[in-house]
Amino acid sequence: MNRYTWRSLILEISLILAAVVFFIPFVILASVALRDTNGEAGFLGFTWPLNFGNFGTAWTQAAMGPSILNSLMITSVSVVLIIAVSSTAAYTLTRSTQRWSKGVFYLLLVGFIFPGQLALVPLYLAFASLGLVGSPIAVILINVAGFVPFAVFLYSVFLRDLPKDYEEAAVIDGARPLWMFKAVVFPLLRPVTGTVSILTALAIWNDFFTPLLYLSGSGTQTAPLSVYTFVSQYGANWPLVFSTLIISVIPILIAYFLMQRFIMKGFASGLK
């Protein structure tokens, strides 16, 4: 059954056809973004010559540059904080033999159930009273707190199987807890840290709801938010809209192609 038979060939051809169907929307995305209204209609809706001018117009009119920088800043700060607070918390919660640690762990797990919409109004009003509506700090705090249950859970699963020998040796040699965590435990956690950072970075970069609520109308826009604002204004101009869409996903596509191997692994191992 390990030979390449005519069955394998049929399977391969049908999978390639499925891949073509999956890929068509991307082709159309490119063809509309490159459309020239005066151009000659050609294959698959592409016009000739290709018009790259839409990208320039989209870049300036949708102010994509600053939005992408904001998205990068919000995503990286959030991910670093998620890793810092969750890895340490998970460490104490899994290594502590005290009864309260189990209770705290369950308290965090309850966070998986909340859909976010229930806390919408109270949280918004709380941030409003602190004057943080319109500030990326609100979005970062919500991201970090929202992903703590998920990250602590993934770290705990990994920590439970991690032998304690190194830690005990370090403690016997008189290492302070924080130093011991940084020098001994955290490096051993690298695989989960990879999974956590990839999954949370993707979700935070793509998140639309929280920025829509806290940043729309403010000076700080994220990439998805800029796309939304721009589309509501220029809804009919599809070439311009699609150029904006492409620009907004370029950073994440670059990241994806650079880290493809790790991303696949991260998805699979973290969710198994």
């Binding site: 640690s101 919408l120 304690k164």
Partner: protein, 314 residues
């Protein structure tokens, strides 16, 4: 107790240090309590308490601004259940979750089974199927909105293939719109399910399949009787993620239709947002939020219990 080194004696210079080490070893690891504080404080302040607050306020007439409020019992829930738009949103949310969970898992499993076989182009194909996953959901939403407009690509393609009679106003027809949105979500999520299934398939031993093949079991038979039971864990994880994710579905729906036409594609998540920030009816939005939370909680709990029972039997 009697074994403890005589610390006060001080006859040997090594004794106190050794005793201290022994004591530390006896206590084992003492992970610092303050390690837990940043995560827990943040979580309690930003996630836990606001949710509890929302839960309590849903039983009051608090308007979101005033300093006064009265308990009104379940009146807010009564008006949500009496509101046809809210009921439609609940129905749509269930329908969308059911269709997407089934569709995404069937497509994802078929793709994973195909890619797990001996084929030459598996790496490039895996990349193509996974590409929609990394796309921002609202970008995917706008892309599909364009494909499905009356003069859009899908209708032109149908026309071109001589299937013009199948032309539809996919997003304008109240009976079709929710299914059109489901197709877009399945397109985006199938690669996600596929990767989890591929990981599960790594654990299926080749010997079992070879033995079955020798016994005369065909490819389909082998898949149903051996592979599917062995990847039970991946199926459960995939189902749980799809169900919970889609009960809260907002981005794709909002970018494709904003819940329209009328309330034909409204989901729980879009209607909570609109009730709170467009219609400014906070008590009703909170009641809708509670209903959504209870739905997610109950379904997640039931699924979790079923999983545990299955795991116990296996």
């Amino acid at each position: 107790m009697t074994v403890t080194a005589p610390q006060t004696a001080g006859t040997s210079t090594r004794a106190p240090a050794q005793a201290a080490r022994r004591r530390r070893r006896a206590m084992g690891l003492r992970p610092p309590v303050w390690f837990v504080l940043p995560a827990v404080l943040l979580y309690v302040a930003v996630v836990f308490l606001p949710n509890i607050q929302g839960l309590l306020y849903s039983f009051t007439d608090w308007d979101g601004f005033g300093t006064t409020w009265n308990w009104v019992g379940v009146a807010n829930f009564g008006s949500v259940f009496a509101d046809p738009n809210s009921m439609r949103a609940i129905g749509n949310t269930f329908l969308l979750t059911l269709v997407v969970t089934l569709g995404q898992n069937i497509v994802g499993l078929l793709l994973a089974l195909g890619l797990n076989a001996r084929i030459k182009s598996k790496y490039i194909l895996r990349l193509v199927f996974f590409l929609p996953v990394v796309l921002t959901p609202i970008v995917a939403g706008y892309l599909w909105k364009y494909l499905l407009t009356p003069g859009g690509s899908l209708n032109s393609a149908l026309e071109g293939m001589g299937l013009g009679f199948l032309r539809q106003d996919w997003l304008g027809d109240p009976d079709l719109v929710i299914y059109a949105i489901c197709v877009a979500i399945i397109w985006q999520g199938a690669g996600y399910s596929m990767v989890i299934y591929l990981a599960g398939l790594q654990a299926v031993p080749a010997e079992a399949l070879e033995a079955a093949a020798i016994d005369g079991a065909g490819a389909i038979r082998r898949t149903i009787s051996i592979v599917i039971p062995l990847i039970n864990g991946s199926i459960v994880v995939n189902m749980l993620l799809s169900v919970i994710g889609n009960l809260k579905q907002f981005d794709t729906v909002f970018s494709m239709t904003e819940g329209g036409p009328g309330s034909a594609s409204e989901t729980m998540a879009t209607i909570v947002y609109k009730t709170a920030f467009t219609y400014l009816r906070y008590p009703n939005a909170l009641a809708q939020g509670v209903i959504l939370t209870v739905l997610v909680g109950v379904i997640a709990f039931v699924q979790f219990r079923l999983t545990q029972r299955k795991g116990a039997l296996a």
